[in-house]
């Protein structure tokens, strides 16, 4: 129908007379427009988050501060921020639509990172208002494949120059690494299917993110390049890593099947620790006077010697706990997949439930600068104006 509308030069008259390249581009655009039936799928990794006033009511998983601004992340690429201690929220411009699990602004500064499903890492330099994609799952897969390849070849070199006594052990380690390499290549083939569950930054340059099946990546240049030290972590069961954080300059990593490990050298070498609990830990907090891990079905452990030894925390409720944070008087406040929070005693040896409702099913929380408590979880943000942290003594 249009083909007959050609001028004497054989050009389609419905296109302006422009250079060949531009014309080709326009044709392509028009063809794409007609192909929408085929190309309508909007991949969550590539599509910008939908702006919605309901974003603050959707599932939100993590919340943090950047200066006086509160920033929360959650499903479908929702990132919202509040400049009035959680009373009103704006939605940030986000280039992805995946479930975001974790957000961090080191030192409460302007620069921050958010991590989520499909191996997505986002970066914001304007206190959470706009975000760019730094990393996705395909790159993460490649980083891990490269890390294991390097580890395998290093191990092989090591094996070549090793003494006879060492050979047996090194051979076994090589086989283990080769097995893990094939695993990593398997994931790479499957695509960007692995999520990141937690992200932490020591400063605006050094940061870490963790995920399932023993996945860990790190950066020393503010997220421009990432590497992985996963091969150096003793994790034969390929346990999921759920939480990573710096406590008193020591990096702690916790996860599935009672996994807990610490590193004094920024993740180069790791020391596996033992706790009385063999289930999953979801949350991790502490300071020089004590570290607490919280996890499945009311299980929590505490250490008063930087993780060397652990003892069980008595908990009042048997609900799964999601995150923990130290409040001003030194006690630890813990969120759980329930309507209420729990609070520890001063000695951090016991957790008691608070009687008031803090949300539907709480994933994380912050204390606002006006003394309010802002929680996120199922159903979005809940703000408690004057929270009472005095637990009943029993």
């Amino acid at each position: 129908m249009w083909s007959d509308k050609t001028d004497d030069m054989g050009n389609w008259v419905w296109l302006p007379r422009t250079g060949g390249k531009l014309k080709a581009c326009m044709l392509l655009v028009i063809m794409l427009a007609f192909c929408t039936n085929v190309w309508a799928f909007e991949d969550p990794m590539e599509s910008t988050a939908i702006n919605s006033s309901l974003a603050s009511n959707s599932l939100l998983l993590d919340i943090t501060f950047s200066g006086d601004r509160i920033i929360a992340v959650g499903e479908m690429g929702h990132i919202i921020y509040s400049d009035d201690n959680g009373q009103s929220w704006q939605q940030a411009d986000v280039p992805v639509r995946v479930l975001l699990t974790s957000v961090v602004f080191p030192g409460g500064g302007q620069a921050g990172w958010a991590a989520g499903h499909a191996g997505i890492v986002l970066f914001s330099s304007d206190a959470g208002k706009t975000w760019v994609k730094q990393l996705d799952g395909r790159q993460v897969n490649q980083i891990l494949v490269d890390a294991y390849k390097t580890a395998v070849s290093e191990k092989k070199d090591h094996l070549g120059s090793a003494s006879k006594e060492e050979r047996g052990r090194l051979q076994a380690e090589l086989e283990e690494l080769e097995f893990q390499l094939s695993d990593a290549m398997g994931f790479a083939e499957e695509g960007p299917s692995r999520a990141l569950f937690d992200i932490c930054f020591r400063n605006e340059l050094e940061g870490y993110a963790v995920g399932p099946f023993g996945m860990i990546i790190q950066t020393l240049d503010g997220g421009k390049t990432w590497t992985s030290e996963a091969p150096s972590i003793d994790n034969p069961d390929a346990s999921h890593f759920m939480a990573i954080t710096f406590i008193d300059n020591t990096l702690f990593l916790a996860g599935e099947k009672g996994f807990i490990s610490r590193s004094f050298d920024g993740g180069k070498s790791w020391e596996r620790l033992e706790t009385p609990y063999n289930g999953t830990f979801f949350g991790l907090t502490g300071d020089a006077s004590g570290i607490m891990l919280v996890g499945l079905r009311g299980n929590a452990v505490v250490s008063f010697d930087r993780g060397k030894s652990w003892s069980t925390v008595k908990t009042e409720q048997k609900t799964t706990m999601s995150s923990a944070m130290i409040i001003s008087d030194g006690r630890i406040l813990v969120s759980q997949y329930a309507k209420s929070l729990m609070v520890s005693n001063n000695a951090r040896t016991r957790l008691s439930a608070l009687s008031w409702v803090a949300g539907k099913s709480v994933s994380s929380f912050v204390l606002g600068h006006d003394g309010s408590l802002i929680t996120v979880g199922v159903g979005g943000v809940t703000r408690i104006i004057d929270p009472d942290f005095s637990a009943k003594v029993n």
């Binding site: 085929v38 799928f41 909007e42 479908m76 695509g191 759920m242 999953t280 499945l296 799964t320 099913s361």
Partner: protein, 804 residues
């Protein structure tokens, strides 16, 4: 008007039909008696039905889609919810739980309940699950060996919290719990379709009446219950018919003061109703709550035409004719106008056939048939019976005398043809018209009331429904978007992500309460498999997992066995037309964006899907029927009078009434719906009769050279009275419907009554007022003041010639 001589002398000028009827009077009576017995026998077999398919536009794309997937939509199974409420503090008492068990057992044994899938706290299928270090752990919500002890009650309470069924099976306020009973489509005992009326009665006697007490209250909702209540309500219409019959009988008597002729006219009309209903049954129809209107209309039509016959006979008796001759002469006078009026009624009714909704077509067929039968009865049975019975001379005397007494009223009415009054009437009509046009801009489409709009807001059903909506987290307004995929592709990542995106769009649409689909199921399932971690509440890209999840989703009916279909349930806050339109628009736009040849997002099942389709079709049908009706009415006017002025005089008052009717609907909160579709067609179809009668007579006198005022005064003496009485009769005929327990019947009653009466008022007041300005006497000598005597003399002459 015919100017013939005595019919007894000039036999060849007597119409054939008159000779046929009056030549075989006994035969006519015998044939009618036999046929009435035959049709009466079949009428007895006529059953009330409330077939849902006949109340909706089954031809609409949405409903076709829903029917194509009816087997896939198992999640929408026809269920009944019995909610057991305690008036005490909460449900955690021994008494309550043991009573609940008895009620559970009673519901279990109600015929038609799918016993295996019955759910309540006492059903073993109602379980809780919990994520532990080893995986999932669970058990029945009701503790084993429940003995009502405080420990057992405490365990029950904990299990209820863990079950996640608060809001669906247990009320949010813990003052009631639900028994959810899916129903079989076929009666397991007889293999016939389940009789909802019987089922509803069984629930009442075996459950509600048996267990309701001071402390226990029972609420029942569900489609089967609505249908059961609808049929029960419809059965009560028989009483309304009796009431309408008695009132009309009284009116007839008041008008005639003669019991003999009153009874004969009533019998003749009843015969028409019996025939119509018998024939309806023979044609294989049941009596649905809409077509029940037809017998009322037929009876009223029969009575009103009987009145005209009666008036004509009285006139002939006054002129001194004998019983038989008076009837025959009256017959000759009224059979043609009567027939043509019934013919236009028939056209009005049959026009309804263009609306392809079952119940409306039932009305169209029933009423068109009925009009033919009424015509037959009025043409054959009534005159023959009257010729036997006659009219008592006392009554004739009374009527003649009353004519004088009533003159004042009619003289007043005749004044509308005086210019100042005419201007006043026309201005008031215009004022009403403008006002009503303004009011009706707020007219809504569809049902506006919450709950089951078929029933009244204060009906038992709707009160029960209110209770459940207020205390549970379920909505009774559900629209289902159907996602079609190739086999084994129902859990493709792209499809699930599209479903999730559509759901988010819908959740951002005002009027949507929540949405649910396979996408939610997968997210919940993955999080559950991941030790309940919310950080995994996402649709995974892992194809193996997605395929595995499709098998799990099958158990909850989120996908089908072949994995080629997945529903998205959209729960709405109400079923207002705007809400439905918005939701339909969002889905349509999304569907046109993402649907491919293989994966299609289709509208719409669920009660709100059907509502949406019905609204769309009803709106179209309403516009269509209004245009067609007015086109036909104008054509009829034009064909009859070959005069544009006639069309204006007759149609303008009708149109005002139609607009007033829509304004009334707006004010009464009645939306345009299936039940209101017939109102305009029936109201206008019958209303035009009035206009034609009056204009016909008016024109006759005008052609004789009378001025408008005198012509109209004369018109009122005969036709005006008949029109007045017909309007009242028809209005009364449908008025009893106002008391129907079925909301839409009451709405139809009010609106039709309004149409019948206001069309009559319009024909009596507005038509002549317009005629003052539009119609001129053909005679030049129209000056009333100077030539009164002459015209009076001429009039008397004409009157004499009419009598002969």
């Amino acid at each position: 008007m015919k100017k013939q001589n005595d019919p007894a002398i000039e036999q060849d000028k007597v119409p054939f039909i008159e000779r046929l009827v009056f030549g075989n009077r006994l035969l006519v009576v015998l044939i009618f008696t036999a046929l009435t017995v035959y049709f009466g026998f079949h009428m007895m077999k006529l059953r009330p039905v409330a077939s849902f398919e006949r109340m909706i536009p089954v031809y609409h794309e949405f409903i076709k889609n829903a029917y194509n997937h009816s087997d896939d939509l198992k999640g929408l199974a026809n269920t009944v919810r019995v909610v057991v409420e305690t008036t005490e503090d909460d449900i955690f008492t021994k008494d309550y739980m043991l009573t609940l068990r008895d009620i559970h057992d009673a519901v279990f044994f109600v015929n038609g309940v799918d016993r295996q899938n019955l759910q309540s706290l006492w059903a073993s299928a109602v379980r809780y699950t919990e994520v532990t270090e080893e995986g999932f752990e669970g058990g029945t919500v009701m503790p084993n060996k429940f003995d009502g002890s405080p420990e057992a009650l405490n365990e029950l309470r904990n299990n209820i919290f863990r079950s996640g069924r608060i809001g669906s099976l247990i009320a949010n306020d813990f003052k009631s719990t639900a028994i959810i009973a899916p129903l079989y489509g076929l009666d397991p005992q007889t293999s016939e379709p389940l009789d909802y009326q019987e089922f509803s009665h069984n629930l009442e006697t075996q459950v509600r009446e048996k267990f309701q007490s001071d402390t226990i209250k029972i609420h029942v909702v569900g489609f089967a219950k609505i249908v059961g209540d609808l049929i029960d309500g419809a059965t009560r219409v028989g009483l309304f018919f009796l009431a309408a019959f008695l009132i009309l009988l009284g009116l007839l008597w008041y008008n005639s003061k003669c019991w003999r002729s009153t009874l004969i006219r009533a019998v003749s009309s009843i015969v028409a109703v019996v025939w119509q209903m018998g024939l309806f049954q023979l044609l294989g129809y049941g009596l649905n709550p809409y077509s029940m209107l037809v017998p009322f209309l037929m009876f009223a039509l029969g009575v009103s035409h009987g009145i005209q016959m009666f008036n004509a006979i009285v006139q002939q008796l006054v002129n001194g004719h004998g019983k038989l001759m008076a009837v025959r002469r009256a017959y000759r006078q009224v059979y043609l106008p009567g027939l043509s009026a019934l013919f236009t009624d028939g056209i009005g009714f049959s026009l309804l056939f263009i609306i392809a909704i079952g119940v409306i077509r039932d009305i169209a067929i029933g009423a068109t048939l009925g009009v033919a039968i009424v015509a037959l009865c009025d043409l054959c049975l009534l005159p023959v019976l009257m010729s036997y019975a006659g009219i008592s001379s006392k009554a004739v005397h009374k009527i003649v005398n009353r004519d004088d007494k009533e003159n004042l009223f009619w003289t007043l009415i005749a004044k509308v043809t005086k210019r100042p009054y005419a201007i006043g009437v026309i201005l008031s009509a215009l004022l009403l018209f403008v006002g009503a046009s303004y009011v009706r801009t707020d007219l809504k489409i569809g049902d506006l009331d919450a709950g089951a709009p078929e029933l009244r807001a204060d009906s038992r059903y709707n009160l029960d429904n209110d209770y459940i909506i207020n205390n549970y987290s379920t909505s009774s307004d559900l629209l289902v978007v159907m996602v079609e995929t190739p086999e084994d592709k129902c859990t493709d990542y792209e499809t699930l992500i599209n479903m999730e995106r559509l759901q988010w769009k819908l959740q951002n649409t005002p009027g949507v309460q929540s949405t649910e689909s396979m996408a939610n199921f997968i997210k919940n399932y993955l999080a559950g498999m991941s030790e309940g971690s919310l950080k995994m509440w996402s649709i995974p890209r892992d194809e193996t997992f997605l395929r595995y999840a499709s098998i799990k989703g099958l158990y909850e009916n989120w996908v089908t066995q072949k994995c080629n279909f997945a529903p998205i349930n959209v729960y709405l806050t109400d079923h207002k037309a705007e809400t439905l339109e918005r939701v339909v628009e969002v889905v349509r736009e999304f569907s046109s964006e993402v649907s491919t040849d293989e994966v299609r997002f289709l509208l719409a099942a669920g009660n709100s899907g059907i509502d949406a389709a019905t609204n769309i079709e009803v709106e179209k049908a309403n516009t269509l029927i209004t245009w067609v009706v007015y086109l036909v009415v104008i054509t009829v006017c034009f064909v009859t009078f070959r005069d544009l002025r006639a069309a204006i005089c007759i149609v303008f008052p009708l149109y005002i009434t139609s607009v007033l009717c829509e304004a009334l609907m707006t004010k009464l909160g009645i939306g345009i719906k299936v039940a209101t579709l017939p109102v305009i067609a029936v109201g206008v179809g019958i209303g035009i009769d009035y206009g034609i009668y009056i204009y016909n007579k008016l024109k006759y006198y005008l052609d004789l050279g009378f001025d408008v005022h005198r012509a109209y005064a004369e018109t009122l003496k005969t036709t005006g009275r008949a029109v007045f009485f017909t309007g009242v009769t028809l209005g009364v005929g449908v008025a009893t419907w106002v008391f129907s327990p079925i909301k839409f019947q009451a709405d139809m009653g009010i609106l039709l009554m309004f149409m019948f009466v206001w069309n009559m008022v319009g024909a009596l007041l507005v038509l002549p007022a317009l005629a003052v300005f539009l119609c001129k006497s053909t005679d030049v000598k129209t000056d009333t003041d100077t030539d009164t005597d002459e015209i009076d003399a001429k009039f008397l002459l004409v009157k004499e010639s009419m009598k002969n």
